[in-house]
Amino acid sequence: MPVTAPEVSRFDPGAPWALHPQVALRPEGFGALAYHYGNRRLVFLKSKTLVELVSALADFDSAEQALRAMVEPGQRDRHEAALARLAASGVIRAR
């Protein structure tokens, strides 16, 4: 069947985000595997904090708030960059 074109969202940390409804997360020792049933991409989430952050995005008014609430200050830039990559691969999307 035709594969959906990847939904690429430009990442704005001030906007509200959520895990894409067509993405499943499988827990692994290093974090999780994310599989997008729409664009068939397999993505590695390489820390448990990132997995928790991604799973909780929908509970916050913005990605920035989620980062402040869930990630140590020294780790926030790296996690924000990781969220931007996940937005580019369609794993998370603006809501």
Binding site: P2, Y35, Y37, S47
Partner: protein, 385 residues
Amino acid sequence: MPGSGASALRDDLERGLAAPICLTWELTYACNLACRHCLSSSGRRDPDELTPAEARGVVDELAAMQVFYVNVGGGEPMLRPDFFDLLAYAVGHGVGVKFSTNGSRLTAARAAQLAAMDYVDVQVSIDGADAAVNDAVRGPGSFAAATAAMGHLADAGFGRFKVSVAMTRHNVAQLDALLDLADRYGAQLRLTRLRPSGRGADTWDDLHPTAEQQRDLYHWLLERPDVLTGDSFFHLSALGEPLEGLNLCGAGRVVCLIDPVGDVYACPFVIHRDFLAGNVRAAGGFASVWRESSLFAGLREPQSAGACASCGAYDACRGGCMAAKFFTGLPLAGPDPECVFGHGEAALAAAGPVAIPRPGADHSKPARGASPVRLSPPNRRPVHA
């Protein structure tokens, strides 16, 4: 991603995952073709193949383990009478299916049916850009059948299906023509490495690309990252810049094979008792084979580099393909027979004639002219190693 680079991820993957990410499931040993390099020595159906109910049970397990998709093959999977039922059952349970076919049963009506399904990918296998090169390996009429199927998929609006090619000495010169052929049908080209597995053990010397052809292939692939390779050619990454993919042997770590009778092997290229981890029919099913098999536990331990330890490229190629070494009689700790620096060829020459392991599970049809009567069951457990 936070905290880790590509090599840290590779270390994680080498220690194994909670479930495979690249699981091949061969549904039947039956095949209407008799390709000279068939890695599963397919031809005749095995009377002990999983029943439709058992196959659905495997899907249930894969769904519970969050195996997101399976690579289905055979034999020719479309020859299984319950093929479309099983396909619908799998995608209905969140297990996507990417299946390989020779195209001979892929009619216009079947193509339309497939185009209407979610989470199904199709790979049509050819081994040359024209009938002469292709049919020399896959048999008379096989190129016409495959291209007819490709036409049906394109006409049905299936979208980007795959055209899958095992690289041989005779088709490396056709790389551009193969890409053009796939493009004409709106398909994506996928190249895989020929292995000396199954009937490929007997045709390896005639078919495997030369050292010069492998270098050509490497450079051609580097320039075309859109061409898929299924991580097949990581032994070539020793030439410099790594190719797209994880660049590691995933056998028993992120990869495994379920064969038509439910036997679980470390990878699709090692159908041999030395790499048999268990059977999905045993208590605990596939999940316990994946999690508890001592064979897989061993493969998830750090592997010895052997004779490759002093080579500066070891970190790039990791010694190459376990199956290619095993079925050419080379030690598993040491160079791949197609090592880009020629260390594999040197090792083969130094070893002289050695006993080469014979593939297990030979379901080849009897040679033409031989007696069709066969009194003993297929030789699934060869007595010689």
